[in-house]
Amino acid sequence: MSKVRVLVGTRKGAFVLTADGKREQWDVSGPHFGGWEMYHIKGSPADPNRLYASQSTGWYGQLIQRSNDGGQTWEPVGNKFVYDGIPGTHQWYDGTPHPWEFKRVWHLEPSLTDPDTVYAGVEDAGLFRSTDAGQTWQELAGLRGHGSGPHWQPGAGGLCLHTIILDPADPQRIYIAISAAGAFRTDDGGQTWRPINRGLYSKYIPDPTAEVGHCVHHVAMHPSRPGVLFMQKHWDVMRSVDAGDSWQRISGNLPVDFGFAIDVHAHEPETVYVVPIKSDSEHYPPEGKLRVYRSRTGGNEWEPLSHGLPQRDCYVNVLRDAMAVDSLDACGVYFGTTGGQVYCSADGGDHWAPIVRDLPAVLSVEVQTLL
């Protein structure tokens, strides 16, 4: 019988939630690495028992943990992230040059085909790769060496590379996104990169249509249509049908088009989910009602999904890596909140129920579908 394993990263540890295909009865394991910030945990598509986890604190820095048994046991692996060559500078919040300094790993993206290859998106923004199961890390310096690098500026959460998407149809193509530089693509396995921000409009930067400087919050792709991308930007939900060469606004009838998380239904590549969040400074759901919005038309036409979600006095946030889908026949949708709830819908978003209610603030949610 099929199973799902939900990997939850929180401000104070990691949790592993498992259930059978009905997704009604859950086993909760954790906290693992109690007291540590677990920015992201993700399993290898090529070997679901191989997991990678990003563990850090302000006291003791960055660690990477690896599991070979689906999260039952873990071992620390390499944590030496050294920028290639002379790091140079990016812009600081006040516009002055600031040296590139490694702070933490935001996102780990295992290879689609090799369990020993994994990518790490880090702050200050850079992309690293390990081909020895996390023991050693090398920077793909062509990204940071892109001519626009000295103009990149941190978002409120830091200059973080938070999104890595591997193209299943073309192993040489990778998409990444940086707050607040924008989205980039390589077509040669990471040697050279181009910004893919044409069509984005950000009125909070001096040139609203600049090549770089956009605060992209997250990007999602359906594996069957790797040229179609969906983006949640600081403001605006966007769509590209040409691998990011151009973007069109699809916010449509959303109550507010600010948010962090965005994902695509496992079997319906035009069905997209977002969680609108009030901003600029509030960062909680409008009207205190936690609602996921679903578009079945690739954007523009959105419907609120609220059955089973709190519809009064709810002031949590849903962060960029805290939404995921499983690939069971009835697609499961999951998201975690800064209030410590992890919600699951086993019917594509029509009905929701909490798996857990009282975890530390949730930073990331990933799901593995185990057959």
Binding site: G35, G58, W59, Y60, G61, L63, P76, K80
Partner: protein, 98 residues
């Protein structure tokens, strides 16, 4: 033989309980003690000092013999009571944060 007391999170990471005892070649200094510690427990690399610059992490302090040695140069000999194992070398995580 040098006695080292690790903070709780690093004891878990190193999979030890209680004090760590290290043999240090040559003079006992912050650098030689940390070199020996990281050689014995590679998982601690980068958690106490930066792996490239060797600088102590900002929220980590070194105490010994009722003194704060955190700002001493890394190659300064540690007190004789540390070098002889009479007193432990304390690695402390700052009491800060939420």
């Amino acid at each position: 033989m040098i006695r080292v007391v690790l903070p709780a999170h690093l004891r878990i990471l190193a999979r030890v309980t209680g004090e760590v005892q290290l043999d240090v070649a040559g003079d006992a200094t912050q650098r030689s003690v940390l070199d020996a510690l990281e050689t014995r427990y590679p998982a601690l690399s980068g958690t106490i000092r930066d792996q490239v610059t060797g600088q102590r992490r900002p929220f980590v302090r070194f105490f010994a013999c009722e003194q704060d040695l955190s700002h001493e140069p890394p190659d300064t000999p540690l007190p004789a009571a540390i070098a002889s194992g009479v007193e432990p070398f304390l690695i402390i995580g700052a009491i800060a944060g939420g």
